[in-house]
């Protein structure tokens, strides 16, 4: 028997099937991921679903073994309920419901975006940050206000990670594209003009993608400029846009902490830029450690614990998945 209560969290919104065990004091006992890597193109929901179905028991067992736990030691189940790919979300919900009923323990559905912020607050030991959450599926500037995580700025079309991944595919850079683009960008100082689109605190990246793609297709490519120059210009433009809206939201909300999270948070150039504006506004800057910045089960488990402690468990009918739920639709009882 373990002394503290333990939650098992399941992340299943997109390419990651993640399982994390976290105790009720916030200590992460284990974290195991299985990540779908497409052979070509993007994420096909049916293929992702199949991989998760084939791997979920193995990943759960590994997480239990690493934490030196038996499934019977689990006191709470949490799963990613929204937002994400429908067929993929369904598996997480299915597994959570099944285990919940077998073990007769409470179950909680968690919003994936909120979980990213909550694990960031826990890991970086900060209280009330303005968050920039940047990943393959999301680009959101948010902060807690009047009982919710309000969205101050977001992408109007594609997320930043999607921009980088899509560009990488066009340039035939193998998966994962983000880190490789970052390395290519380091080798250039030549800036090619690209569209910079900020609308209030919202962003648009689709025009930037098209323009970068055209640079690849142009006759001048590899004569007047090379792939490094495009990668450099793409990063500089997109990250300057992100930094500008984050700074505007920071000035507007007057928060004293800034949290950078999501898969793209790993990019050093972006970290440097967000750090610079945080300094400018005397705000403390934190990047969520890579292990917890990307999709993972621990963030789901921890957010499930917060919700369970403040508002209790979900009944079965409340566990229906919601692929399109916005984080600002959800009340945050543990912070009010």
């Amino acid at each position: 028997m373990k002394s503290n209560k333990i939650a098992l969290g399941i992340e299943s919104t997109a390419h990651t099937w993640g399982v994390g065990l976290v105790d009720f004091t916030g200590k992460v006992l284990s974290l195991v991921n299985d990540v779908f890597v497409p052979e070509k193109g993007g994420l096909h929901p049916a293929l992702v679903r199949e991989q998760h179905l084939n791997n979920f028991t193995r990943v759960i067992n590994e997480a239990l073994t690493q934490a030196k736990c038996s499934i019977k030691d689990i006191n709470l189940l949490a799963f990613s309920q929204s937002p994400g790919l429908g067929p993929v979300l369904k598996i997480g919900a299915l597994v959570a419901r099944m285990l919940g009923q077998l073990l007769k323990i409470p179950i909680i559905g968690v919003n994936h975006c909120i979980a990213h912020i909550e694990i960031g607050r826990l890991m970086c030991n900060i209280d009330d940050p303005l968050s920039l959450y940047v990943s393959g599926g999301n680009t959101i500037v948010s902060a807690y206000e009047s009982g919710r995580y309000q969205i101050f700025g977001e992408t109007l079309d594609i997320p930043i990670g999607n921009l980088l991944d899509s560009f990488a595919r066009e340039a035939e850079i193998p998966h994962p594209g983000g880190p490789k683009i970052e390395n290519l960008a380091k080798k250039s100082k030549k800036y090619l003009t690209l569209p910079y689109v900020v609308k209030g605190m919202d962003l648009s990246f689709s025009g930037l993608f098209t323009a970068a793609k055209r640079l690849l297709e142009s006759e001048k490519y590899e004569k007047e400029y090379n792939l490094c120059d495009i990668a450099f210009s793409l990063q500089e433009t997109a990250f300057a846009m992100l930094t500008e809206v984050t700074e505007r939201a920071l000035a507007h909300t007057e928060k004293t902490e800034v949290l950078l999270t999501g898969g793209v948070a790993a990019n050093k150039r972006l970290q440097q830029m967000i750090n610079s504006i945080s300094d400018e506004h005397n705000a403390k800057f934190e990047v969520v450690p890579l292990k917890y910045a990307g999709d993972n089960g621990a963030m789901i488990a921890w957010t499930g614990i917060l919700r369970y402690k403040s508002k209790g468990e979900f009944n079965l009918t409340e566990t229906i998945i919601n692929p399109k739920e916005r984080m600002d639709n959800i009340s945050i009882p543990w912070r009010s």
Binding site: M201, A251, E325
Partner: protein
């Protein structure tokens, strides 16, 4: 800022006295310009972005803003008078408007005052739109209310010329977003009053484009990320 003083060859007639506000993009200084009370709006160099991009953004927005501040006066919209523009230091010297940001006033206003102000604001934005101007950043921080209750529009850095319904809807959508996120309790009242004023101005000019513009706001929302399928069009 030294550059500006040097260029104009004097500091006696132009004095920058104190920092009033440090925004995300610009610093606002209070001072005097040939005896007149002025604001120096100085777009700050942003070290986080590369010099080439930084210079371009600052220059384009300074010129954009100055041009718009001057131009929209033709339609009797209150904006600060522009006295001097310096693209080198990305500074605009404009008349000092004594008043408060709407953002800080909302909570102190009673219901009928809120309605009145937002209806008037709706009319002002309608006049801009009818004449092909997109403000680009209508937030409650960019609206100044003077003691005589005149509404002044400021911060035209993201201004654009456009006659498209889409651009006009986005302009209003941004205000809606700010009202929801920062003034949630007053959102319905204020936004409805705004729309009333907006529609009235269009109607009085025998122009019914407002129908499409307002309808398009909800289309933009349903286009947003994570909108439930049943709410999609």
């Amino acid at each position: 800022m030294e550059k500006l003083g040097d260029k104009l060859g004097m500091t006696r007639n132009i004095t920058k006295e104190k920092l009033l506000h440090k925004g995300a993009e610009a610093s606002l200084f209070y001072g005097h310009w040939f005896g007149k009370e002025v604001i120096f709006k100085h777009r700050i160099i942003k070290d986080y972005r590369i010099e080439q991009l930084d210079r371009k953004i600052r220059t384009v927005r300074t010129l954009n803003e100055a041009r718009a501040l001057i131009k929209v006066k033709e339609y009797r919209i209150n904006t600060p008078q522009v006295y001097e523009i310096d693209t080198e230091s990305s500074t605009i010297i404009m008349k000092y408007i004594s008043g408060s940001k709407l953002k800080n006033l909302i909570k102190t206003l009673n219901i009928s005052k809120k309605k009145e102000i937002f209806t008037n604001l709706g009319r002002i934005i309608a006049i801009l739109h009818i004449n092909g101007h997109i403000h680009g950043d209508i937030t409650t921080s960019n609206i100044i209310l003077t003691s005589s209750e005149d509404i002044f529009l400021i911060d035209f850095g993201l201004h654009d010329y456009s006659d498209s319904i889409e651009d006009k809807s986005v302009d209003i959508h941004l205000l809606k977003r700010v009202l929801i996120s920062s003034h949630g309790d007053d959102f319905k009242l204020c936004f409805n009053a705004f729309l009333e004023g907006y529609k009235s101005e269009y109607r009085e000019r025998g122009n019914n484009a407002y129908n499409d513009i307002i309808k398009n706001i909800s289309i933009i929302e349903t286009r947003g990320r994570y909108v439930k399928k049943e709410n999609r069009l």
